[in-house]
Symmetry: C2
Subunit: 344 residues, 2 copies
DNA sequence: AGTCAAAGTGCAACCGGTTGCAAAGTGACT
DNA sequence: AGTCACTTTGCAACCGGTTGCACTTTGACT
């Protein structure tokens, strides 16, 4: 069917191994033959058969990414979608393909992680998922396939032992709160989320620390819990309107909750930012598709994606196992209109 | 490193071919040996090496999907993201992996379509992209790799000659407009988009046909062009406010433009839906994250994804080339609050 | 002319599966 | 015991690359 190196070899009157070496730019081949062979390959429209190549080299040229099962339901999948595109872009630079999967195939009930590893379909793994059983984790380590955890890492391993890149949610929470304080607010509601995701706890910690640093007493009546989503933000306002009436600012730990809060406040005739300042978290594209534009904490996706891929590629190319490394990325405050800063 | 069928063969005292046949459930093997071999394989934690398998069978167990280059910029990538997840889900059912790519690698400048095909990385291709040069198209056909066009198909081929699945945008435009007419509106603005994308032209045609059917004269002063995005919808209201003041309804051909229009109208103190009814298009998740909830045209993603994959898998499994087929999916009107129907 | 290192190329095995075909085994029946 | 059909298994080639090692060629130097 398609052209093989043996075809080329026959035509050029050399052995297949020579052809292979030429097309792989081996240094032991003379420039003259190299040029000649490449020429013929070009004319014949030769392309390597990736499978044959993978079989003999044990390199596939593709990396896998594992997302949390609840990813599609996750309201901030908007953030993940955009991160995903950045990751793909970073990998494209190295001509690597990307296969995305959930931890388990929900139809066959088999572990996709295991499948990708043991079937040798990927050279490396990016794991955006914090729950992992010991069996899979062992398999992962035994397989010698490099991996880096993105955003989360499983409880079953020590942070020092694995490669992980994440953003500093403590600082993020701090920055958001500090900004509101600097704008003159003293009573600031914080809307976090339930669940065992550490990042939200950290955002809350940052919030508390900022209050402390600026001598504002922390009041746990001002702390609420949503579920990431727009409706949950919306409902929290309605359910706790008395509390909202008594404050002048809100730090919502996802942008979508901030949107819900803003819409509910509008219905209650509270003007943002004049009567209430709002800061969100994530900086999804829609922040500028909402009036007033949302002030928020930006997680630099390009940087996250770039550093994650860089690290993974490093590991994939390393001859010897490398010492694991932790990469922490600093979030940034993006000032728009919802916090009132632009009106001054 | 990992367990091979030869390892199993040695332990079981049979030949590798027998092991292969057992694990592939060949009918010529006795149940007894099959059971024994499978048992051993299980114990050893055997998994097929996908590359070796692909090499000999020419089946990779993965399909590729090609997105338009401008996909990440496309404002309705929200729609595509959700469609993508549905596609992945449909493929997961058959244990197929999915590699997503753009038509060309923007760093190496090489054709990704060509790469996926000629390197034998995929068994089939879903193509969401209408521009394709003759060379690639020829390659595609010569390669015998089955493909289906999703939503668009290239101009260089005849619709009858290729497999394509898309939604009926004419009907979508018609449904949206008809609904507004039924709500008593006679002057209806239509916001389409520039560019050569047929689907938007068709939506506009549907709009015109509905007007015609209900004896409302078409007025081209009521037709505007945005660029899919929220800001463009927003701006159109500001720039043409006199026109908007004279009508009672708007059909926006993307949800995001509808959002922009709604926000601009709010700032102009025009109440939706009381003073102005609005219908969008796509039914992105955010339609219910906006006040009032957006009435819109839903493109059934599950159905689209399912039919696309079903067709592709059909083609991949076919022994002989099948006659090409066109699958057209009907959009649905989703009535929410922005059109005023719920207030009556 | 003879020696020898360096450069260039080919042989053959290997990666880990699949599969057509031949051979061996089984059991029923004459 | 011999024949025959059918079931079960093994041999060996193949998929299309890579690579260690051995061999040949080349040219500089004594």
């Amino acid at each position: 069917m398609s052209v093989t190196i043996r075809d080329i070899a026959k035509i050029a009157g050399v052995s297949p191994s020579t052809v292979s070496r030429c097309l792989n730019d081996s240094t032991v081949i003379s420039e003259k033959t190299k040029k000649r062979i490449k020429q013929i390959a070009e004319e014949l429209g030769f392309e390597f058969n990736a499978n044959a190549r993978s079989l003999s080299t044990s390199k596939t040229g593709t990396v896998g990414i594992i997302y949390p099962e609840n990813y599609t339901e996750l309201d901030d999948n908007l953030y993940f979608n955009s991160l995903h595109n950045q990751l793909r872009d970073s990998l494209e630079r190295e001509d690597l393909d990307l296969i995305a999967a959930f931890p388990v195939n929900k139809y066959t009930n088999k572990s996709n992680i295991q499948k990708l590893i043991t079937c040798k379909k990927v050279d490396g793994l990016i794991i955006v998922h914090s729950k992992m059983d010991t069996k899979t984790f062992d398999l992962l380590n035994k397989s010698k396939i490099p991996y880096v955890f993105l955003h989360h890492f499983p409880e079953i391993c020590k942070e020092e032992d694995v490669d992980v890149v994440y953003t500093d949610h403590f600082i993020g929470g701090y920055l958001a709160t500090e900004h509101l304080i600097n704008m003159g607010h003293k009573k600031i509601i914080c809307v976090s989320t339930m669940g065992d995701e550490d990042e939200f706890k950290l955002r809350t910690e940052g919030y508390k620390k900022a209050l402390l640093d600026y001598n504002i007493e922390y009041d746990d009546k001002l702390l609420f819990y949503g579920d990431h989503s727009y409706p949950s933000g919306y409902r929290i306002v309605y359910k706790n309107f008395e509390v909202f009436k008594g404050v002048s600012a809100v730090f919502a730990q996802t942008d979508l909750m901030a949107f819900g809060i803003m819409d509910a406040l509008r219905e209650k005739n509270i003007k943002v930012p004049n009567d209430m300042a709002i800061v969100g978290y994530n900086d999804i594209e829609l922040c500028t598709c909402v009036k007033p534009n949302l002030t928020t904490i930006h997680q630099p996706r390009e940087e996250i994606a770039h550093l994650t891929c860089e690290r993974l590629i490093d590991l994939m190319n390393a001859k010897k196992p490398k010492k694991s490394k932790k990469i922490i990325i600093q979030p940034r405050l993006i000032i728009r209109d919802s916090c009132g800063a632009n009106k001054i």
